[in-house]
């Protein structure tokens, strides 16, 4: 879901950078309130998500995706910590590997590091059955992040002078595909959560 350089127009780049910078600064301040245990989990979790994102799922004849990990990060270290985790991953991916553009880094942080993280967190927090909650958190985090990415792409490209024409293409394509592929994200998020609750209950609590 990493938007490369060239896809977004300058206005969208600036606007998304602004939102991303504000939320990342706020998150950096807020993680001071995390317990030492949660805080020390941040670098390890970021490295783990970086590696997990390298494991693509190419589906025969169709469309591919890789694990994003935003909901999992939010569940383990809270939404502010989750945003920091994803920002670290996206920053290194963009700067060292040019995976995701530099002009679109703000948008990628917004989509995966903010929208997906907070969607995952809110669902996890408010759905009472935690096993179901982790599945829904993973699934819908990808779906919403996909829709917002579609919004950015659609607003960047106005075809044939028709207002909002781009959106009529990008929202269904991005939302639809991510709603399908996001199910895998939901299953992985739930699986990792269940494994950690069994083996290391301290990691998941609180």
């Amino acid at each position: 879901m990493h938007i490369p350089d060239g896809y977004l127009d300058p206005y969208i780049c600036v606007a998304t950078y602004l939102v991303a910078v504000i939320v990342v600064i706020l998150s950096f301040r807020k993680i001071k309130d995390l317990s030492v245990d949660k805080l020390t989990l941040i670098p390890v979790l970021a490295a783990a998500i970086f590696v997990a994102q390298m494991l693509n799922w190419p589906l025969p004849g169709g469309t591919s995706l890789h694990f994003v990990g935003a909901a999992l990060a939010a569940i383990l270290v809270g939404p502010w910590g989750g945003s920091i985790v994803l920002t670290l991953v996206l920053l290194v991916q963009a700067l060292v590997f040019h995976d995701g553009g530099i002009t679109t880094l703000g948008a990628n942080i917004l989509n995966m590091g903010i929208v997906a993280v907070w969607t995952g967190w809110l669902i996890y927090k408010y759905v009472p059955n935690k096993r179901l909650a982790t599945f829904l958190a993973g699934w819908l985090s990808i779906t919403f992040a996909g829709i917002v990415a579609g919004l950015e792409l659609g607003l960047s490209k106005q075809l044939s002078q028709q207002f909002l024409y781009g959106l009529s293409i990008t929202i269904p394509v991005m939302g639809g595909w991510h709603a399908v592929l996001g199910i895998i994200e939901g299953i992985i998020t739930m699986g990792v959560y269940m494994y950690l609750t069994n083996k290391y209950p301290g990691l998941v609590s609180g």
Binding site: L55, L153, G154, S156
Partner: protein, 97 residues
């Protein structure tokens, strides 16, 4: 940092294992079956142009390492990337503790 590395020893061993097998997913299967994200589909429909190759600053583009076969480059990239992420992460928490 040392304390944390020891504490999460098992996690790091798992990560090393995943990095070693990562070319199966990121290189071999991706070449065999084609890697095509929903984003690529949307961009094609809109006629958007990627400028990644024209404006590039890194020798490690797309998790490759110059002079190494793609599979090995992917593993080296995985190690390098995970280490940089880890290091930045420790700097962040050092500033926040």
């Amino acid at each position: 940092m040392k304390e944390s590395v020891l504490r999460y020893k098992k996690a790091f061993i798992l990560l090393l294992f995943l990095i070693v097998i990562s070319p199966i997913f990121g290189v071999i299967l991706a070449n065999l079956l084609g890697y095509h994200e929903p984003l690529d589909i949307a961009a094609e429909l809109l006629g958007l142009n990627e400028t990644t190759e024209e404006i590039n600053w890194t020798p490690f583009l797309d998790y490759s390492v110059p002079g190494l076969p793609p599979e090995v480059g992917y593993i080296v990239s995985g190690l390098l990337g995970a280490l940089v992420v880890l290091l930045l992460g420790y700097i962040v928490i050092k500033l926040r503790k």
